[in-house]
């Protein structure tokens, strides 16, 4: 009967204690995102080359717009692909 005395959760208790997301540009004081630096922009695209949403990266709206603009510019000058497989 000892098994019944254990407290059981429907979901893992760790799930609710997620670390709060933050905007890395605000935190580290980056004011300008360079579209000529594809290695840095790789952090904000998935392995298909798609731009990651804010809910995953945690960027503020202001910097998400700038990241998106920089990625689109980098694609235009062929530093990043428009479509890819296994980019990472």
């Amino acid at each position: 009967m000892s098994a019944n005395k254990e407290i059981r959760f429907l979901t893992s208790p760790k799930l609710g204690r997620n670390v709060k997301k933050y905007c890395r540009f605000k935190r580290s004081g980056i004011r300008y995102i360079d579209y000529k630096n594809p290695d840095f922009l790789m952090k904000f695209i998935n392995d298909q080359g798609k731009i990651l949403p804010r809910r995953l990266t945690g960027n503020s709206l202001k910097y998400q717009r700038r990241v998106a603009q920089a990625i689109k510019r980098a694609r235009h000058i062929a530093l990043l692909p428009y479509v890819a497989d296994n980019l990472k």
């Binding site: 004011r31 300008y32 000529k36 510019r73 062929a78 990043l80």
Partner: protein, 147 residues
Amino acid sequence: MLKSYECVLIFTPVLTKEEVEKVVGDYQELIKAQGGEIVHTDFWGIKQLAYPIRKKTTGFYLVIEYSAPAESTAKLEVYYKRDERILRFLTTQLDKFAVEYNERKRKGLIGKGVKHKHGQSGAVSSSLIDDDDFDSLIPDDLQNMEG
């Protein structure tokens, strides 16, 4: 009033070294002829493209930072479009943060290994150029500035 711009040009890889040197000089002259002042010229050399453009998989990259009157961009882009050696071009207007960033980058204050590069700032721009022959492409005033 002059505004700050940055222009990335991708040239076709079939050019010889002499042609590339000439082309770089030509475009610097062209910008000056439109009333612009060149702040910095950065020649990346031949580089792999992320996807083929006009069936070419490599290209010569040239980045020119300059300040010019606002009307000049449309005129310059006509020249870029007419030039068959240019695969792609991108002109962007720089805000004050971008200008500051580019200055810091030129001094080697941005990027990996920042602490090591700080003492020998002269090596930063020349390391971007693969071949020794392209050293002559860096304008003289620029070399003095970094020295």
